[in-house]
């Protein structure tokens, strides 16, 4: 998943939305262009809201294995490795 993807695209969406609102408010864009910007803004708002509702907190523990390799073990919320038991 894509904490990475969420980050990038949310940031993109928010920046683009700000730019669209600014353009609509200040620039002398013609009507066709204004409507196209509005359409894009509505679409960006929709995807941004979807991304905002994505959940998926992932907990991991980093350690160094005997061979010096990095190991990332999954943890549950109580801080245990699910495979511990």
């Amino acid at each position: 998943m894509s904490a990475e993807r969420t980050k990038k695209s949310l940031e993109d969406d928010l920046n683009r939305l700000d730019a669209i609102v600014r353009a609509l408010e200040t620039e002398d864009v013609d009507l066709d262009r204004a409507l196209a910007l509005f359409e894009e803004g509505v679409e960006r708002l929709r995807t941004a809201r979807e991304r905002l509702s994505e959940a998926g907190l992932r907990l991991r523990q980093l350690r160094e294995a005997a061979d010096g390799e990095l190991k990332l073990d999954d943890l549950d919320r109580a801080g245990r490795r699910p495979t511990d038991d």
Binding site: A3, K7, E25, L31, G41, L52, R58, L62
Partner: protein
């Protein structure tokens, strides 16, 4: 051969060796004198590669040789200096060289703050000299981190608190625990190992380093100059959270951001989903309001053109303009009502934005006139008598021609 002795008697008992005498004196002293505190001034202080310390404790009349072994010396936060007044606790013994010595287990400065204050000031000065405390060094935290690292004890409440806060605010992250002992012997080394490990992660957007509250001794590892330097060297921006009320640790001074508690650190590390939802709602309102103003402006222009054209306008065009004015006004009013009604309600925002879609605006009778080349015709001058043009309406285009003006 005869040896002439100055005395005519030889010892009746077998003489002891030097080592035997020293050993028995040592036994007597070690058994007779309990461990005790001694007050004196440090003199002739030396460290050895083994990590042991050798020095003397002096008073105006005499001096006492002292040794402090590595395992005890490492717990003293700073090297003592010549002439420093100290309290030393230890046991008296006789050294292998036959000298009386105090085996020091604990060393305290007699001044306020003691060794801690001395060590802290020395380390702070060294960090400052290297520019590590400069405000310009502070890096901003990323707005939307994807991977958040936490260097802390896996056993403490810190990890639990951070998981809870981030789970509530911004669950779209990977939270990575890098466990380390945060107090006691070896804690600085363990913290440095964890920081180095964190730096090897292929991706790390922000790193929280912290522990819960504790005494000054408990927090001491976070004042270790080496730990502070390791935090300063982190590739990812850092947030230090060392829970305490008064002292600020060196780790916090070098970190990019300082937080009062681990929970506060978690709040600084990630954005708040609810805040962003509100921001999106505001942006949505701005978008709707801006496009509504734009449509109003267009409608005004067209109606102005209609007035100037007067009765000479094609009836079909006049009817279109009239419809546009009516619907435009209606849409503006509807838009105003919606803008007033919506505040932070994101779900409702979506519905109202759909209602404002330009496709629906066109569907209500808004049309656009273009010439054969597709250029939008806006002004009276764009409509010379006999000019053929095309009207774009919701389901297609209508051919049209401007009539002779009377």
């Amino acid at each position: 051969m005869t040896l002439a002795l100055p005395f005519d008697e030889s010892p009746r008992e077998r003489p002891s060796t030097v080592s035997e005498v020293v050993a028995s004196a040592r036994l007597v002293i070690e058994h007779a004198l309990p461990a005790q505190w001694v007050e004196g001034e440090i003199s002739n202080f030396k460290t050895y590669p083994s990590g042991h310390w050798y020095f003397s404790l002096k008073d105006p009349a005499t001096q006492l040789r002292c040794v402090m072994f590595r395992s005890d010396a490492r717990r003293v936060p700073a090297l003592p200096s010549q002439g420093m007044k100290v309290y030393a606790r230890g046991e008296l013994s006789i050294s292998k060289r036959g000298e009386l010595e105090l085996i020091v287990r604990q060393l305290l400065a007699t001044t306020e703050g003691g060794f801690y204050a001395i060590a802290l000031e020395r380390a702070r000065a060294a960090l400052e000299k290297d520019g590590l405390l400069a405000a310009e060094r502070k890096r901003p935290l990323p707005a939307f981190p994807a991977v958040v690292g936490v260097v802390t004890s896996p056993e403490g409440a810190v990890w639990h608190d951070i998981v809870a806060v981030i789970g509530r605010r911004w669950p779209a992250v990977e939270l990575v625990l890098i466990g380390a002992r945060v107090q006691g012997d070896g804690a600085p080394e363990d913290l440095m190992r964890a920081l180095a490990l964190a730096d090897r992660l292929p991706r790390l957007d922000v790193l929280i380093v912290g522990r819960g509250g504790g005494s000054r001794e408990d927090l001491w590892a976070f004042n270790d100059e080496r730990v502070a330097r390791a935090v300063a060297a982190s590739r990812a921006p850092t947030i230090a959270a060392v829970g305490h009320e008064t002292d600020v640790t060196l780790t916090e001074l070098v970190a990019d951001v300082r937080a009062a508690t681990p929970s506060a650190a978690a709040e600084k590390a990630v954005p708040d989903r609810a805040d962003l939802a509100r921001r999106l709602a505001v942006t949505g309102n701005g978008l709707a309001a801006a496009v509504a103003r734009r449509l109003e402006l267009a409608e005004e222009r067209v109606s102005h053109a209609a007035t100037r054209l007067g009765g000479s306008v094609d009836r079909r065009l006049a009817a279109t303009l009239e419809r546009l004015r009516r619907h435009g006004t209606r849409m503006g009013a509807a838009c105003d009502r919606r803008l007033a009604a919506r505040t932070a309600d994101v779900a409702r925002l979506g519905a109202s934005l759909d209602a404002l879609s330009p496709l629906k605006v066109v569907g209500r009778g808004y049309s656009v006139a273009r010439d054969a080349g597709g250029r939008v015709l806006r002004r009276v001058a764009d409509f010379p008598a006999g000019r053929e043009f095309r009207l774009r309406v919701t389901d297609g285009e209508v051919p049209a021609r401007a009539e002779e003006r009377t």
